[in-house]
């Protein structure tokens, strides 16, 4: 498929195929494929080393049961699905990976990486978890420097500052484009659904054709919709949902579909597959680009951080900017940090923001879809009745 003939929506519907072609071509040219499994992985460094960072987070239910031969059943489905791909060899991107860059973002991943490392090269970065602690930050800077050395040694390259700045420029551009797309949802009548917005992402960052399509999407959707062409999915009367919590990775969009087919409109996704990683850019003019990268990534408000007050600040800000009418907090089963933090999010939503709050704890199996739909529908009814008051 050539990118000029298709609409942005069609283009990103084929995101996995596009990425497959792109990565396959890169691999055949000798470009190292580097798997990443978390937004803390500094893609810019990998790109500066001449590598292609590919997100390998699993979103498929079918790879969970093979994974459970090794991992406990009561574990986050994202970890199990990712590991299932490793075991069954059914993710070509993982198969191509010359290295997996991992982080100690959560205990489940951390221990899973030990098992993965028995079969393929895995490099683990230690993520400090106190975001306001200077020593913690300095430690993180060192972790990035060690990753740089690892990449240089493994791929026999020298990572010059100029190269890092080049990849910072690419990533800043991509983040800015995706941020602008997300901001379309601030409109009274958003031109796309939350589900469509979620499609505007790629498991490989910085693909030139993707960047063109992001721009094209912005041009297409930036014009306010006239009333006549408004379709049902673009109704401005639907309650505006702020979705927070765990990432909704490719293949695991079930809850997003349920929310939008139950009458809600997701106007803001404050999670790793939404705004969280693209809210801020990297300072391209910084004297030391490694420190600049460390600064950007260390500000990611992941629930592994303690205290994670930045997440509360961001939700306050986003709820206002996107005029959210309720908060839905998605928690993957056994994701302890998001699960516990949901107590604080509920308190923030209900007591401070005066917004109805709902926590959905689930995994990738569709067995509870009908139950979740009832709860979401009831929440939407509650929001609608609040409007009538």
């Amino acid at each position: 498929m050539t990118e000029s003939s298709v609409s942005p929506i069609e283009w990103f519907e084929n995101m996995i195929d596009n990425c497959y072609d792109y990565a396959e071509a890169a691999k055949s040219r000798g470009i190292p494929i580097v798997g990443i499994m978390c937004e803390f992985a500094p893609r810019e460094l990998i790109m500066a080393a001449g590598g292609l960072p590919v997100c390998l987070c699993g979103g498929a239910a079918k790879t969970i049961s093979p994974a459970e031969e090794y991992l406990p059943a009561n574990l986050c489905p994202l970890i199990k699905s990712t590991f299932g791909y490793h075991i069954t060899g059914s993710n070509p991107f993982l198969g191509w990976a010359d290295l997996v860059v991992a982080e100690t973002t959560c205990d489940g991943k951390k221990k899973m990486f030990e098992l993965m490392a028995e079969k393929r090269p895995v490099y683990v970065m230690e993520l400090p978890q106190k975001p306001d602690d200077t020593d913690a930050f300095e430690h993180w800077v060192l972790e990035l420097r060690k990753l740089k050395t690892e990449l240089e040694t493994r791929f026999d390259v020298k990572i010059a500052d100029a190269k890092i700045r080049e990849s910072i420029a690419t990533m800043n551009k991509e983040r800015a484009l995706r941020r602008s797309l997300a901001e379309l949802m601030k409109q009274e009548t958003p031109p796309i659904t939350g589900r469509q917005l979620l499609e505007f992402k790629s498991i490989i960052s910085g693909i030139p054709a993707d960047l063109e399509q992001y721009e094209k999407a912005l041009q297409t959707f930036s014009h306010p919709i006239d009333e006549k062409s408004r379709t049902d999915s673009q109704s401005s009367t639907k309650p505006r949902v702020l979705l927070t919590g765990v990432p909704v990775v490719h293949g695991a969009e079930r809850v997003v579909d349920i929310i939008e087919s139950s009458g809600g409109m997701i106007v803001c996704m404050e999670n790793c597959t939404g705004l969280k990683p693209i809210l801020e850019d990297v300072d391209i003019d910084a004297e030391d680009p490694i420190r600049a990268l460390a600064a950007k990534y260390f500000r990611l408000h992941c629930s592994v951080m303690t205290p994670n007050s930045r997440r509360f600040d961001i939700i306050r800000q986003l709820a206002r900017e996107y005029r959210a009418e309720c908060v839905i907090d998605l928690v993957w089963q056994a994701c302890i940090t998001y699960d516990i933090e949901s107590f604080q999010i509920k308190r923030l939503a209900e007591q401070e923001l005066d917004l109805p709050y709902m926590r959905i704890e689930t995994d990738y199996s569709p067995s509870d879809s009908a139950r979740i739909a009832v709860r979401v529908e009831a929440l939407i009814e509650t929001v609608s009745r609040r409007r009538m008051r």
Binding site: P356, Y357, A378
Partner: protein, 259 residues
């Protein structure tokens, strides 16, 4: 003119007819849920209309609720059982702040704000422990009727501990208790406590009074008492507990029709 609420639940279909002017429930009926919800609902609907001297022309609007609500073709619209129960109970017990509803496969708790709107709610999602089905399984296993459970539990001296979170495992646990000599009275009391405990976990730290108990399970003696002892608040049983969903649906039908 009348508003009609059809509550197509997991174990029974309930229909309520409400008069548009007086807002009073004129008639109600119930039929056991089966393979064809639509047909069963239609049969009951026709019977209720004819039995009370109404024709279809008298029906202003029909709202369906309950888990099979989308299969009720005669309904003009559907509303979730959460909103309907809140509306129905609020109509019967003005000022209610906490509603506990336990039905065939559901247990839910609703917190209403002082104005009567749903503020917060929780329900069981992946498992039917803590629901009416649990009591059915127990009654069946002990060879007694559902209606006898209250009498039995009131005679318990040492309620058994039922710790399983799953109906199937709890049944195994009950068999084990029986073989180790536990009395049916103590087992029933233990099961009721276990259901109450599960519901109280949903509620969290505090249930704002007044607390009203509704749903089919509210009709089983002993359950309200078990809830009271676990949540530490007095719990009153809603009038017509099995009908509050259908009643709420009928009230909402009238509201939507502009009454």
């Amino acid at each position: 003119m009348i508003g009609v609420g059809i509550d197509a639940g997991s174990r029974a279909i309930k229909i309520a007819l409400v008069d548009a002017d007086t807002e009073k429930m004129i008639a109600s009926g119930i039929v056991k849920q089966g393979i064809n919800s639509e047909e069963l609902a239609l049969g009951l609907f026709d019977e209720l209309l004819a039995g009370n001297g109404f024709t279809c022309d008298d029906v202003k609007r029909i709202v369906a609720t309950g888990y099979a609500r989308s299969r009720i073709g005669i309904a003009d619209t559907t509303i979730t059982e959460i909103t309907c129960h809140a509306h129905g109970v609020r109509h019967l017990v003005p000022g209610v702040r906490t509603i506990i509803e336990i039905g065939g496969q559901d247990s839910k708790f609703l917190r209403l704000d002082p104005g009567g709107s749903v503020h917060d709610f929780a329900m069981n999602d992946r498992c039917a422990a803590g629901t009416g089905r649990f009591l059915e399984v127990v009654a069946d296993r002990l060879g007694v009727g559902l209606e006898d459970l209250g009498q039995l539990s009131s005679m318990s001296t040492r309620p058994a501990m039922i710790s399983s979170m799953c109906i199937v495992f709890a049944e195994t646990e009950i068999i084990g208790l029986l073989s180790s000599g536990a009395s049916p009275e103590d087992i029933v009391a233990g099961v009721q406590n276990s259901i109450a405990t599960r519901v109280s976990t949903m509620i969290g730290r505090s249930a704002t009074p007044p607390v009203v108990f509704t749903g089919g399970v509210a009709m089983i003696p002993g359950m309200a008492h078990a809830l009271e002892s676990v949540i530490g608040e007095s719990v009153s049983i809603s009038p017509s507990p099995q009908m509050t969903g259908a009643l709420g649906a009928a009230m909402l039908a009238l509201e939507q029709a502009g009454f």
